[in-house]
């Protein structure tokens, strides 16, 4: 059974169709990179996985549970799926450590001490333990995004979603975030990553999904994707993003 399974998922904003009949799956331990031009629906696609974006047609199974079903306890499902956002979305009024503790205590029911221990271990891992008492606004973008990854990991997720995790970062900070992500991938974390960082894709992706105008145009193994037999649209897109 695949960890994440899209079956003919379609979504509309009013009359505008943002997802057209999307079908794909993510196996346990796989790293899938989703790319495509802006407005192609890639962010919407991964936000469907944890139910942040509802969809109108099709079926989406995550860890054996149907996301679209009314019976599914979404908070419970979301607690198992980590997510990292383009704009980090740390809670600005809480210290770094409190950001990591919040859901551990409120959702998983861990004690404050347990949560803090876990949080400190993860902050050490992303190299930010010295910043634990600071507030998000006092950190650089790259540091904030590493905290956000640690916050997601604190929930012991079975899979991680990344929504353009480096596109709001200054160029010199991109690598510190990518390094953490590569390490995660190499440890066997199941990951679905929306990104234009093709270097990351080449290094750790199992498959690359290319989207355009709400459709999955291409869904291929990494080697095939970066090979020579791609469609014109993909070629054009790749040449654009690889040459700047």
């Amino acid at each position: 059974m695949a960890m994440i399974e899209f079956k003919n998922v379609s979504k509309w904003y009013g009359k505008f169709q943002v997802l057209k009949d999307c079908t794909t799956n993510v196996e346990k331990g796989e790293v899938i990179v989703v790319c495509g031009p802006s407005g192609s629906g890639k962010s919407t696609l991964i936000k469907c996985v944890n139910g942040l974006e509802p969809f109108q047609q099709g079926e989406l199974m995550v860890n054996g549970q149907s996301v679209g079903s009314k019976e599914t306890n979404l908070p419970k499902l979301r607690a198992k799926i980590g997510m990292v956002f383009q704009n980090f979305e740390l809670f600005p009024h809480m210290s770094v450590i409190a950001n990591l503790n919040l859901a551990q205590v409120k959702v998983l029911g861990r004690s404050e001490a347990e949560a803090t221990e876990k949080s400190r271990a993860l902050l050490t891992r992303v190299g930010l333990i010295d910043h634990a008492p600071k507030f998000p606004g006092q950190l650089s973008g790259g540091q904030q995004q590493r905290v956000a990854i640690a916050r997601a990991l604190a929930m012991d997720p079975i899979a991680m979603l990344f929504d353009e995790p480096t596109s709001a970062l200054d160029p010199e900070m991109i690598n510190e975030v990518l390094d953490v992500m590569v390490e995660l991938a190499q440890e066997g974390m199941t990951m679905m990553v929306v990104t234009h960082e093709m270097g990351f894709a080449r290094k750790v992706a199992n498959r690359v999904i290319f989207m355009d105008r709400g459709e999955i145009v291409d869904d291929a193994s990494k080697d095939d994707f970066f090979g020579t037999t791609r469609s014109e649209r993909v070629q054009l897109f790749l040449s654009k993003i690889l040459h700047h």
Binding site: N87, E89, F91, P92, A103
Partner: protein, 241 residues
């Protein structure tokens, strides 16, 4: 300007005219503070309801805000004071007219409180809505339920954002408390007018009343600036990024 009339014995009541001024300040403060309790609590609840996407919570809250803020405060005063006793069951109405202690005061408090609640609701709503949607998404993504998202993320940030506009709403309530004189509450402006009628020291007494309003306004502003620095989030500037 000659303020010596303030120490003269007043026309009635046994004290001096200065005592009248003090009484006026007392009622202005009492009406303002009691009305603020209503405005803040009712306004907060309404404002929060207006940000939910549950139509049967949002709809009535929106209707309240539209109804209350589109009718002048003076009319609110008259309705609470003159109309309410006729609209409630007869026994209660009779009690409101004859038995209720300080009917002018309580009518003024309710009128001012429920009127200002509609303005507070708008401030709370726009404060919460100014928080980027991504914050809610991030909180939901960690598995928090919607009530938890409000409790731990939206409200703590939202209330920090609305401190300045709520300060100005409080100052508005404080100034608007003078409308209570139309139903007979002897607050500061009413006392100033009465004293001017008895002493003809209009210029002096109006100046004194104005100075009192300005001084209290300044005091509130300074206090709230202190509160703002106390609750300021380190490294966080404004509401956008």
């Amino acid at each position: 300007m000659d303020f010596s009339f303030l120490s003269e014995p007043a026309f009635s009541g046994g004290g001096t005219y200065f005592d009248w001024v003090l009484t006026g300040i007392k009622w202005t403060m009492l009406v303002s503070l009691c009305a603020w309790v209503i405005a803040f609590t009712v306004g907060s609840v309404l404002g929060i309801l207006r940000t939910t996407n549950v139509i049967w919570l949002r709809g009535p809250a929106t209707a309240y805000v539209e109804l209350f803020r589109n009718i002048p405060l003076l009319v609110h005063m008259f309705i609470w004071y003159f109309v309410m006793p006729e609209m409630v069951p007869k026994a209660l109405g009779t009690w409101m007219k004859t038995g209720m202690p300080m009917p002018e005061f309580w009518s003024a408090v309710f009128a001012l409180g429920f009127y200002t609640a509609s303005r507070v609701a708008e401030q709370v709503r726009s404060g919460i809505q100014s928080i980027p949607r991504g914050q809610t998404n991030a909180a939901l993504a960690t598995g928090l339920t919607m009530p938890q998202v409000y409790r731990h993320v939206l409200l703590p940030m939202g209330y920090r954002i609305v401190v300045p506009p709520l300060t100005s709403e409080f100052l508005t309530i404080f100034k608007n408390s003078s409308v209570a004189l139309t139903i007979g509450v002897l607050e500061l402006t009413a006392q100033a007018r009465t004293i001017s009628e008895y002493t003809f020291r209009t210029f002096e007494i109006f100046t004194l009343a104005t100075v009192v309003y300005v001084v209290i306004t300044l005091a509130v502003v300074v206090l709230m600036q202190y509160v703002e620095t106390r609750i300021r989030v380190p490294g966080y500037i404004g509401t956008g990024r």
